[in-house]
Symmetry: C2
Subunit: 330 residues, 2 copies
Amino acid sequence: MAVTIRDVARAAGVHVSTVSRTFSAPNLVKVDTRERVLAAAAELGYRPNQAARALTTGVTHNLGLIVADIANPFFPPLIKSAQSYARVRGYQVFVADTDEDPRAEEELISILAKQVDGVVLVSPRLSNAAIAGLSADLPFVVVNRNVKGLPAVLMDIGSGAATAVEHLAGLGHRRLMLLGGPRGSWTSEQMRRSAAAAAERSGVSLEITGPNAPTERGGRLAAAAVLEAGATGVIAYNDLMAIGTIEGLSGSGVEVPREVSVVGVDDTVAGRVARPKLTTIAMPTQEAGRSAVDLLLHAIDMPGGRGAAKTTLETSLVVRESTAPPPPLK
Amino acid sequence: MAVTIRDVARAAGVHVSTVSRTFSAPNLVKVDTRERVLAAAAELGYRPNQAARALTTGVTHNLGLIVADIANPFFPPLIKSAQSYARVRGYQVFVADTDEDPRAEEELISILAKQVDGVVLVSPRLSNAAIAGLSADLPFVVVNRNVKGLPAVLMDIGSGAATAVEHLAGLGHRRLMLLGGPRGSWTSEQMRRSAAAAAERSGVSLEITGPNAPTERGGRLAAAAVLEAGATGVIAYNDLMAIGTIEGLSGSGVEVPREVSVVGVDDTVAGRVARPKLTTIAMPTQEAGRSAVDLLLHAIDMPGGRGAAKTTLETSLVVRESTAPPPPLK
DNA sequence: CTGAAAGCGCTAACAA
DNA sequence: TTGTTAGCGCTTTCAG
């Protein structure tokens, strides 16, 4: 075992509680004593054992961050910003991946529960009821999902989707299609609603499919439906799916954007480097990560606090090369 | 606070040690007692507190995974596979991001030290000496770095780089350039050596630049050097950089692959969807993640064990559209 | 097979 | 300002 508080106490010729104090409440100990302790600690290479500390204080200084799929490029920037912000505030972050499986999500939460002071659920796949249930034990912040009574960071994908519909309608498209995301996705549901309303307002038709896997493969598979429906404007659940759709379309000899326009969501690297460069709805992922941690830390600081702070972040449409006017009608 | 072992003991009418045993050594307790305890535990929703358990046993059932940059698409697949494999083996994984900063790396290791049973260092930026020093306290496994005395997972990028050189030489290129990665990168050093040797064997010239930032931006900046050197074949440290280089080149009116060929490394999504599709050296990231955890668990199981198991994984060249014969000499 | 007791590393009243 | 004394939740001898 490593060096403990007792070794330091002995070396400094003080009692353990004095050592404890010099670390947790330095101002309660006389300056020169403190220095003696610090010197001894430095010499021995002492580092407080967080876990032991947590046992008495109930504070772990760890946060949990649960995502559906680390390999999905939507998440890494969010994780990264959450983590770096948490670190600034003195917290470590446990990142866990559920593989899009609601049961794994539940399992992970309960395993993490004892080791963290709170958890951020990003784009959860669990039902609202389940989340609300779990939240009795532990502070939660939810990203991209609105759960009654819980703090949340919401990205306003609804208005993003509406903007995308208007963009496509403005270009002259009359038959649009929305490729929905996975079951249980709040984002997908928001898109559905707002896109439908926007389509109606703009006087264009909108067909909706789904659930689809939020991957290139899911997009490739969905391409057939696009063709079948005769849609010339497509909004995909995310960039990966949009890229897959474009591939699927071009596999059938249909060119993007000459014949069909495609809009993605997330503004990932993949979309930026794909050809044609993807028109996409940019999600403020970095801010979301930061805000989520911020909200969580608030919730932790004042337990039972005034709960349910909601932060809504704007999205924006980035027009690039995958959208254009439709071909003239024959 | 949540329900503890004591609550369960009371409910089941046994002593706490019996409850403890039914969880940690079930066969030491009579069947019906065990069942009574389990029933009480289930009823109360008891979950052993890992942190408290760790305090006595010294086993946390957590692993640390330290990477330079989660947002770099090279890492997520590795993280994901490490994590899912660890979970199967009953371990949670703390993922931490150092932002390419060696000091942050050191800091993170020491913070994590008390909360994990071992750590995987992926593409560390720390010096070998520093790593070796730290490894006294805690089992380590290093990925993409060979540290004496430590288990490691090595991706054979050397042979990958050599293959890339031969590929380019075979296409007819005579002036190659290698865009090195960040300072302290073992991968970059391996590439340098093998590429130089391969170039010599193939009778082509090879110029080497670096360090460069392993990002699109780094690649864009390096494009100027490529032009200046008059190289027609480029091997970039990773896909992101390769993509940046292609952008930079095309910004100067130079077409890839018609005028210059570019090879990336990592085989990320970004490279797959970029246009032209990137020729790249595929890294076995998923296997690396799994192998690293495997090695680490071995090291943990037999401390002071026969140390230093090295696993070497093959890389392979994926030829796509960013490489072609050079233009005829004028 | 089960209970009693000590202790993991640390903090937190309470005295002194 | 510092030492004493109890624990936090759990495991682990050692008895019984």
